[in-house]
């Protein structure tokens, strides 16, 4: 806490693709990335809920980011689950199309998202221009909040 707020601290993002767009989550919010496993559908749940999955003995709720971000791209891809840390969101994993690299970005390069840049600015914590690519940083709490709870 002694560091000055003006000093740009490097931040690391775990990036992934959803519907052709590059997204990222702060690496501190992510517990692990796991392969897609058979999911148990939960009837009557909101559309973004893909189902329940057992990740090493504990049950996680899987949210489909394609659905949440309004992507109608349904090209088959090797989908993965980004498991969030329990302190961020209670046992929850995000279903993504493809996992990207870990990128390190100076904190001051994260900009506030402007309307029209992404499907749902409410879910976005900020954006960052990488080499010719726009990284949209998601706020995992707000993503989870879209389905209530």
């Amino acid at each position: 806490m002694s560091e000055s707020a003006t000093l740009a601290v490097d931040r690391q993002f775990c990036t992934f693709h959803v519907g052709g767009q590059l997204f990222g989550l702060d690496i501190l919010d992510v517990r692990e990335i796991v392969d897609l496993q058979p999911m148990t559908p939960v009837a009557h749940a909101p559309g973004a809920v893909s189902g329940y999955v057992n990740i090493r003995g504990s049950i996680h709720l899987v949210l489909c980011l394609r659905h949440l971000l309004g992507s109608n791209d349904d090209t088959p891809v090797k989908r993965r689950l980004v498991v969030l840390k329990p302190r961020v969101v209670e046992s929850c994993a995000l279903l993504v199309d493809r996992i990207g690299d870990i990128v390190t970005v100076p904190g001051d390069r994260i900009e506030v998202a402007r309307g029209g840049m992404v499907a749902d600015p409410a879910l976005v914590a900020g954006v960052c221009h990488l080499d010719g690519n726009l990284l949209v940083v998601l706020d995992p709490r707000r993503v989870a909040a879209t389905i209530g709870g």
Binding site: H44, N54, R56
Partner: protein, 983 residues
């Protein structure tokens, strides 16, 4: 150790002390056994010490005074009495609340309670010792070695009753640390006055008794050897022993009341287990226990769960493994199982922890209500999952309060009824069938079903007809209805009309059930059955749409499998609800796949769609009969896979609002299965308790598509059907009773000659075939003369939607034909048959053929009513709902509108309103409905209908039509489309 953790330890320890102090204090009232007094004293003392160390001055001040008071009791200088115990309890309450406040409570003002404790101390001190143990002592001696120097208080010696001239020493053999048996003390008090009770060095009890009885009698009375009874004398007159401040051996002089158990009435809950543990055992316990935070236990539980999964995967892989590996896997299996069980046990707590709260509750209630109530608790040692125990606290408290309030008469009333003055509330717990059973029983007045009925009617919770059909047991369950309360007067103890339903819901949410039995005048019993633990649930695993689901075993009553034929023939519909007749009761059926498909709770349309969609299924059906509360229903699944003990995980907090699921679990193969919440499913599917109980003999309240039909066979197995509501009764007759008069057959029914109609007399059908000596006579309702229709065999009663066609077999005496179970079924028109048979029954043809518009959505009734009207010689135009009727009315003129009330799009009420207000038509209108409640009738008349008739009463219907067409309507004329107020 820092100050904070010291404070935490102090709070935790104090809670422990406080949890026992309350019970001990109450026991103290009737029992001054030294162990008990010491325990209370020590508890207060250690709280005082801890509070002093942590500078919690207010706790310290209160505890100090309470301790001082207790010290007086301990030393025998004071005898605990009710006001003192009350004050000490109050002091304990103050300390408890201060402890919970921790540091914040340090400076709370406690002068009031302190002053009262001081006052008690001083008020009691002089008058305290009724048998002054503080006064000078006198030594007594006797011939036996043990009776050489027995000290008794001088005051007691001289103050003894003149009837008790003899002084006797009795020596009872050592009983270890146990007190003298209560039987002995009771007998001793009956045979004289106990002047002193001491424990001699060998551990034996020595009693100095002032009595009229000589040695021989005492010997035989107490079954003692002769040398154990000694006549005593004052050893040396005037040789007075020095008065010890607290004579170490004199335990208690006067109130040697019956110690501990049995004395239920005076010492509530003294049979509780924790108290039964000897002091030695409890210190032992303390040394061997460690405080562990619940989160650690939960974590262990989760880890054990994971281990179980890995074990399960290993077991699957065991086939490929080598022999050594196999042995290891087996060991892993065994250890994992034991580990899981051991961890599970850490979550269990004795129910005594909960029961021990009630002596105080009862004591306070009894005082408040002016009643005498004792509490008996059995089975304190029964263990339950702590989460269940916690959730159980409020419902139990409610039940106990109820037992004291409604469930107990005043002492005067009890005596007048010939009962004991003091009522008893009994709490009992025991294991049975893998469940924990808890009983709350009172010996009060019981529950009066008649009063329940009256209350229900008054509050319009049930109709008189519903109540009349209920068994005593069902009646008693009425108290579980929301908004029900029978307390004549609302007290602050109970009777707010909220509660019993909440109790029932809580118990059900815990996966338990509640049963009520009551004997009027003898008391009532509430019997709860609960699972041992919520963490592990024996469940039925079923499959639906390729996914597995778990149904808690406690909800499952039985499994039923139907082959494709049975499924097709025995699944019927009652109204829009699919039902199955299981051993004489209609069981609503709910299809799990349909529930899973539809996120919204079922509407009536959904239900009838489902019924229709599956009517043609030619597939076997499997369903589990499940129950929540009192409503059983059949849950249709694709497949039953078996039973399994599952580890319950709650639903994700984002999905908590999904009422159909109670949680999730990880199955042996690592996949996730959802646990079904039976109650939620019932609510989703709209299964109503009444519908399952409702007899299918009457049409349900609403005009539903389905009709209840009586199917019967004529000759050559020809099938006929009549709407059951049109039949008054089906009479079994003997052929030999039929008499012929002219060409007519008669049979006496209810002492009246009843004309027999044979179908073949009027319809082109084969003669009615009668096997054996018996036949059946269908007696229609609403006929002026007794007539019956002869049926050879009753096939069934079914509830189904029918659409009649008249093309297949046009005949004026037939309403039409339809296919039922693939058979052509004829619907004879009972009234026209009766008319054809005896012209007296035939409705007179109308003078003038009128144009009538009939609005009716149900095909069956449409045909039925149209048939009547055409039979009367009228022209009928039909509309399928109100909307269509309005359209037709806009184009054509009619002499009469006959309309159903319950219709889609635009219902009858709306139609009448539009006819009067929008179309400004003055044509006569007749509402026909199966609704018969005054409210619907009133609404219909208010909406603008002129008359209201029941659908199933053709004679009245005919009269109404005639009246309306003849202008006998008694309706004020319309002025500017508005109804004139009647003067």
């Amino acid at each position: 150790m820092d100050d904070d953790s010291l404070l935490h330890d102090f709070i935790a320890e104090s809670r422990d002390h406080l949890s026992t102090i309350e019970r001990d204090l109450m026991a103290l009232e009737s029992n001054t056994e030294p162990d008990l007094v010491n325990r209370v004293f020590r508890a207060m003392h250690s709280m005082k010490g801890g509070a002093g160390f942590l500078s919690l001055t207010s706790i310290n001040a209160v505890a100090h005074r309470a301790e001082t008071l207790l010290d007086q009791v301990r030393s025998g200088r004071m005898t605990p009495n009710r006001p003192m115990i009350d004050l000490l309890l109050e002091a304990a309450d103050v300390v408890a609340s201060l402890v919970e406040q921790g540091r914040e409570g340090a400076s709370t003002d406690v002068t009031a309670i302190c002053a009262r404790l001081d006052a008690m101390m001083h008020a009691q001190a002089p008058a305290a010792a009724p048998v002054a143990t503080t006064g000078p002592m006198v030594n007594l001696t006797g011939p036996q070695p043990w009776a050489q120097a027995l000290a008794v208080p001088e005051a007691a010696l001289h103050g003894r009753d003149t009837d008790h001239p003899l002084l006797m020493g009795l020596r009872f053999p050592a009983t270890g640390s146990a007190p003298l048996s209560p039987t002995i003390t009771t007998n001793l008090k009956a045979s004289g006055e106990i002047l002193a009770l001491t424990h001699d060095p060998s551990g034996a009890w020595v009693v100095v008794l002032a009595t009229p009885m000589p040695v021989e009698i005492l010997v035989s009375l107490y079954d003692l050897p002769e040398e154990a009874v000694a006549p005593l004398e004052v050893s040396a007159p005037g040789a007075v022993a020095p008065a010890p401040v607290a004579p170490p051996r004199v335990v208690a002089a006067a109130p040697v009341a019956a110690p501990v158990p049995v004395a239920v009435a005076k010492a509530p809950a003294t049979s509780s287990a924790p108290q039964a543990t000897s002091p030695a055992a409890s210190t032992d316990d303390a040394a061997n226990t460690v405080r562990i935070h619940v989160t650690i236990l939960d974590q262990l539980m989760t880890l054990a769960g994971e281990l179980v999964l890995i074990r399960n995967q290993q077991l699957i892989a065991v086939n490929q493994a080598s022999i050594e590996q196999r042995a290891q896997i087996q060991r892993l299996d065994a250890i994992t199982t034991s580990l899981q069980e051991a961890i599970m046990r850490t979550r269990l707590q004795p129910i005594g922890n909960l029961f021990s709260r009630f002596p105080r509750v009862i004591r306070d209630l009894a005082t408040k209500l002016g009643k005498k109530i004792a509490l008996q608790a059995n089975g304190n040692e029964v263990e339950l999952d702590r989460s269940i125990l916690e959730s159980l606290a409020d419902p139990m408290k409610h039940l106990v309060r109820n037992a004291c309030d409604h469930g107990m008469e005043t002492p005067e009333r009890r005596l007048a009824l010939g009962k004991t003055e003091s009522g008893t509330v009994t709490l009992a717990a025991w294991h049975e069938g893998g469940q924990v059973n808890i009983e709350i029983r009172d010996d009060g007045p019981g529950i009066d079903p008649q009063r329940l009925k009256a209350k229900c009617l008054e509050k319009s919770l049930k109709t008189a007809a519903e109540l009349a059909a209920m068994s005593e047991k069902e009646l008693v369950r009425l108290i579980l209805l929301p908004g029900f309360s029978t307390a004549e007067q609302i007290t602050d103890v109970s009777g707010r009309g909220v509660g019993m339903d909440v109790v029932a819901t809580t118990i059900e949410n815990l996966g338990g059930t509640i049963d009520i039995t009551s004997r009027l005048g003898h008391g009532s019993t509430f019997h709860l059955r609960l699972p041992l633990t919520l963490a592990i649930l024996p469940s039925l695993i079923v499959e639906c749409d390729g996914n597995r689901y778990a149904i808690p075993q406690t909800n499952v009553e039985e499994l039923v499998g139907l082959d494709e034929h049975e499924a097709a023939s025995r699944i019927e519909s009652a109204g829009d609800q699919e039902v199955f007749r299981l051993r004489g009761h209609l069981l609503p059926l709910v299809r799990l796949d349909e529930i899973l498909k539809r996120p919204k709770a079922f509407t009536a349309r959904d239900r009838s769609d489902i019924g229709r969609a599956h009517r043609q299924d030619r597939r076997p059906v499997t369903f589990a009969v499940v129950r929540t509360g009192s409503t059983p229903f059949g849950l249709i699944v694709d497949q039953v896979l078996g039973t399994e003990e599952i580890v319950v995980k709650p639903m994700h907090s984002a999905l908590k609002k999904l009422s159909s699921f109670a949680g999730a679990t990880v199955m042996g193969d690592g996949s996730v299965a959802l646990i079904l919440a039976v109650e939620g499913l019932a609510a989703h599917a709209g299964v109503e308790p009444d519908r399952s109980e409702a007899e299918d003999q009457h049409v349900s309240d609403q005009d539903r598509e389905a009709q209840t039909l009586l199917l019967f066979a004529g000759g050559n197995d020809e099938r006929f059907a009549v709407a059951l509501p049109l039949i008054r009764r089906v009479e079994r007759i003997l052929l030999k009773d039929i008499q012929r008069i002219g060409g007519q057959e008669f049979i006496p029914v209810d002492g009246q000659p009843t004309a027999i109609i044979r179908l073949e007399q009027h319809l082109p059908v084969s003669p009615t075939l009668i096997e054996g000596e018996e036949a059946f006579l269908l007696l229609p309702k609403h006929l002026t003369r007794p007539v019956g229709l002869l049926a050879g065999r009753i096939v069934d009663t079914i509830s189904t939607a029918v659409t009649l066609t008249t093309e297949a077999m046009p005949n004026s005496l037939l309403l039409g034909t339809t296919l039922i179970d693939g058979k052509v079924t004829l619907f004879p028109d009972l009234y026209r048959l009766a008319g054809a048979h005896d012209p007296a029954h035939a409705p007179a043809k109308a003078q003038r053929a009128a144009n009538i518009l009939l609005a009716e959505d149900t095909a069956f009734f449409r045909q039925l009513i149209k048939g009547y009207l055409e039979g009367l010689g009228h022209h009928v135009t039909v509309a399928h709902d109100g909307e269509e009727a309005v359209e037709i009315l806009g184009k054509q003129t009619f002499d009469l509108l006959v309309s159903d009330l319950e219709m889609p799009r635009c219902d009858g009420w709306e139609l009448a309103r539009r006819v009067r207000q929008d179309l400004q038509l003055d044509l006569p209108t007749l509402a026909v409905s199966t609704l018969s409640d005054p409210k619907s009738i009133q609404r219909a008349l208010e909406a603008g209908f002129d008359r209201y008739e029941q659908k199933m009463d053709p004679p009245r219907f005919t009269v109404a039509v005639d009246d309306l067409l003849a202008g006998r309507i008694g309706r004020p004329p319309l002025v500017n489309g508005k109804e004139q107020p009647r003067v």
